[in-house]
């Protein structure tokens, strides 16, 4: 048995022992989202309680299982049974739960979301039968939230680096062929065949070659890559090493967003562990193949997700894209052949190799194979990170996995593909999510952000939002994107403030066309997508803003006003106290009134009015106005 096999054996027994040992284990969902939800104080409380109760228990920090709406979340494993997952915990509930379960043996089925796979506990449903998880197929995310991402043994115990071992026995051509025929397409946005991309670079002359993992997940509203890197960094790094082997690279980079400190930390830990057991470095696992990998932190520029800008940034320059050709495959980093793959693409590669191309390609549609992760957010009941087979309908995603719209409101649209994507109206929710269907609908797959919008979302405001984003993130190099986005935003601002005329809409369309066709890089060329789709599907709303000076979602500040319903006002004075401009007057216990000329429409009164009264209303600016 080789050294590596014995390492794996050891890892397996260590993992087995953790999973089936008699000592209780408490897993903490400690990804960034869990941390934001307050897992640290929950964890602190747990330690305190365990100390008080004198219980010896192991605490393991795991990544995110994807059920973000249930954060903070812990799983408790007792008596070698499958861990049971508890969500929406508070420091108040936790002591009770620990005591009841670990001391009194009551698994508190009332609080449990479900149990992981393994020996089940009576009365607790299986976690993967949960409506949010049941329709999902977890290929990329199989380890996320399950294993300790900072312990390579956990990954090894779960078939980690089996694919790499397999690859090292294959020729690079065979590896490329396998990925190509599996039908794997880039998960970063454009959906180009991954195998073909590798092939171009493998065939390019020049040395050294570079392999880059693009972890600059910049789309607002998307966090798939963050979760994967935080929860299972080895999966991505294994893919990176495989890809480097296929193209003949000797140096690898992971270009990660600086906004993701935990992901960067986990990546660096993982790389250290890999180096120790020769999964990177010289003569990997005794083969002729050597590879060094380092993590490069971005510094806050969305455009650096664009390949040529990303490379400029790695080289220490301004992240300004350059025209292609020449392509990175032949002229990349320092002019050498370079391949850049997205995190999820690399996260999928190992599985394709391990399970085989046929296994992989039976998921998905004819042209879009496999599964895809999405971050499902916005006005939806259950927000989180999900993974479904390509070809799943939006309907299923929003209503089955997401549990429908928040607060029983009506759905308006879903935004896909980030700032480069577009909005699909609720009437088209039967659309299959695959590369071709989304493109046909005028948007793109993008990296996988799905933002659900309800009737309280103003479509013009959304277009304005995305344009604000891209205007700020435009690198400023080429004329159409630099000035065009600014001009489009101008017009959208006019629309939002009720100052636009119909001819402005035409102008908007014309500039959008110029920016789309004239811009240098992918960012500029897709800037108009949110405008195109919203104008196409929600023409009425645009017209309403322009012609009637009306925002039906009551979002555009200049088109609404706040008003206190005299009958409902209880005169508590909270709103008057909070108003930053002293626009609200009224005696205690008397009806309060907003002085419109002073009001800056900040909405604080609206949010601070006690739920029992709900006297502050947001209404159309023209309703009820004298004259």
């Amino acid at each position: 048995m080789s050294d590596f096999e014995s390492l794996r054996q050891k890892a397996r027994s260590k993992y087995e022992e953790l999973r089936t040992g008699q000592k209780p284990v408490i897993y903490l969902g400690a990804a960034s989202c869990g941390k934001a939800a307050g897992i640290a104080s929950i964890g602190g409380k747990i330690k305190e309680i365990l100390g008080e109760l004198g219980i010896e228990s192991k605490l393991v920090e795991v990544g995110c299982v994807g059920m973000c709406c249930y954060e903070p979340m812990i799983y408790i494993q007792k008596d070698g049974k499958a861990p049971i997952c508890y969500g929406n915990l508070t420091t108040k509930v936790v002591p009770e739960l620990i005591k009841d379960f670990l001391v009194d043996g009551d698994p508190r089925t009332d609080l449990a979301l479900g149990a992981f796979d393994g020996p089940q506990t009576e009365g607790v449903p299986r976690l993967f039968d949960h409506p949010m998880l049941k329709p999902q197929v977890r290929v990329v995310l199989r380890n996320c939230g399950v294993i300790d991402p900072t312990d390579i043994d956990h990954y090894l115990a779960n078939d980690g680096y089996v694919a790499l071992q397999k690859v090292l026995a294959m020729t690079p051509e065979e590896v490329i062929e396998e990925v190509k025929s599996a039908g794997m397409r880039g998960r970063g946005g454009a959906g180009f065949s991954t195998g073909m991309k590798w092939e171009f670079c493998a065939k390019a002359s020049g040395s050294p070659k570079y392999m880059i993992c693009n972890a600059d997940e910049g789309d607002p509203g998307a966090f798939m890559n963050r979760s994967l890197l935080e929860g299972d960094p080895h999966a991505v790094l294994e893919g990176l090493v495989i890809a480097a082997y296929a193209i003949g690279a000797s140096k690898g980079y992971v270009y990660a967003r600086a906004e993701y400190p935990l992901a960067i930390k986990h990546l660096n830990i993982a790389l250290g562990q890999m180096r120790e057991i020769n999964l990177i470095g010289e003569n990997i696992l005794g083969s002729d193949f050597s590879l060094e990998v380092i993590v490069k932190e971005g510094a806050g520029a969305f455009v650096c997700g664009e390949e040529t800008a990303l490379m400029a940034s790695i080289m220490g320059e301004r992240g300004m894209p350059r025209p292609r050709p020449p392509f990175p495959a032949t002229h990349g980093l320092w002019g050498k052949p370079t391949t850049i793959n997205n995190v999820e693409t690399l996260g999928t590669v190992a599985t394709i190799i391990r399970e085989g191309k046929d296994w992989f390609s039976h998921f998905g549609t004819e042209k879009s194979k496999g599964t895809k992760t999405f971050s499902l957010v916005g006005k939806v009941q259950r927000t989180g990170l999900i993974e479904v087979t390509l070809g799943t309908t939006l309907q299923e995603i929003i209503y089955e996995i997401g549990g429908g719209i928040l607060d029983g409101k009506k759905a308006k649209a879903i935004q896909t593909g980030g700032p480069s994507g577009g909005c699909i109206p609720a009437s088209q929710f039967d659309l299959n999510v695959d590369y071709e269907s989304l493109t046909q609908a005028g948007t793109i797959m993008g990296s996988g952000g799905l933002i659900v919008m309800d009737e309280e979302t103003c479509i013009v405001d959304i277009a304005h939002y995305f344009l604000t984003f891209t205007k700020e993130e435009s690198c400023g190099k080429c004329t159409p994107c630099r000035i065009g986005t600014h001009r489009m935003l101008d017009i959208l601002h006019k629309i939002k403030t009720g100052k636009a005329e119909m001819k402005d809409l035409e102008k908007l369309h014309e500039i959008a066309w110029t920016v789309k066709n004239g811009s240098l890089c992918g960012l500029g060329q897709t800037v108009p997508n949110p405008i195109y789709t919203t104008m196409k599907y929600f023409e009425d709303e645009y017209h309403e803003h322009v012609e009637d000076r009306k925002c039906r979602a009551l979002v555009c500040k200049d088109l609404i006003r706040y008003h206190i319903d005299a009958e409902r006002c209880i005169g508590c004075g909270i709103c008057a106290g909070k108003c930053p401009v002293d626009a609200i007057s009224g005696e205690k216990k008397q009806t309060h009134v907003i002085e419109e000329s002073l009001c800056i429409k900040c909405g604080i009164c609206f949010h601070s009015c006690p739920p029992k009264a709900r006297a502050v209303e947001k209404i159309d600016a023209e309703v009820g106005q004298d004259g």
Partner: protein, 153 residues
């Protein structure tokens, strides 16, 4: 000449591709990038000062004025936006009397907009001194801010 800057440059090496990590470390050390620090880096790396400034100003991470004691960063991601990040930002702007990118006169708070923090499921989100706060409303934000003002956090 600060020996710290020299130390940082030497630890990375003066290859131009290390410029961004060097700037990041200098900022971590000083809180921002000062004119002097940039000039020093330029001298040590043999890259022109303006070129470095050009690189630094391209990335939103870098600051050129001393930040406040507490750094408030409001997420402007899509999910946060549809869940009211703009009024959250407005609240801070009026309450602190500063615009994003500025620091209050007493040097206690600085306000920033940030691109998506990736905590979309908890939208709207803000970060104060590295601590993430989710599911915010203006009322909740006010409570948190008051605690910072009173030195309770």
């Amino acid at each position: 000449m600060s020996s710290k800057v020299r130390e940082i440059v030497e630890s990375h090496g003066s290859n131009p591709s290390n410029l961004i990590p060097i700037l990041q470390d200098v900022q971590t050390n000083d809180g921002y990038l000062s004119e002097n620090a940039l000039a020093e880096i330029a001298g040590l790396m043999d890259v022109s000062e303006s070129t470095i400034y050009g690189v630094a100003t391209f990335y939103t991470q870098f600051k050129f004025v001393k930040p406040g004691e507490h750094e408030i960063r409001i997420c402007q991601g899509t999910a946060c936006h549809v869940r009211g990040a703009e009024s959250l930002l407005d609240f801070f702007k009026t309450n602190l009397g500063i615009q994003p990118g500025e620091t209050t006169k007493d040097g206690r708070f600085s306000l920033e907009r940030v691109a998506c923090l990736g905590c979309c499921a908890l939208a709207p989100v803000m970060v104060i001194d590295g601590e993430v706060y989710g599911h915010l409303t203006t009322a909740k934000a006010e409570k948190i801010l008051t605690e910072y003002k009173e030195g309770k956090r």
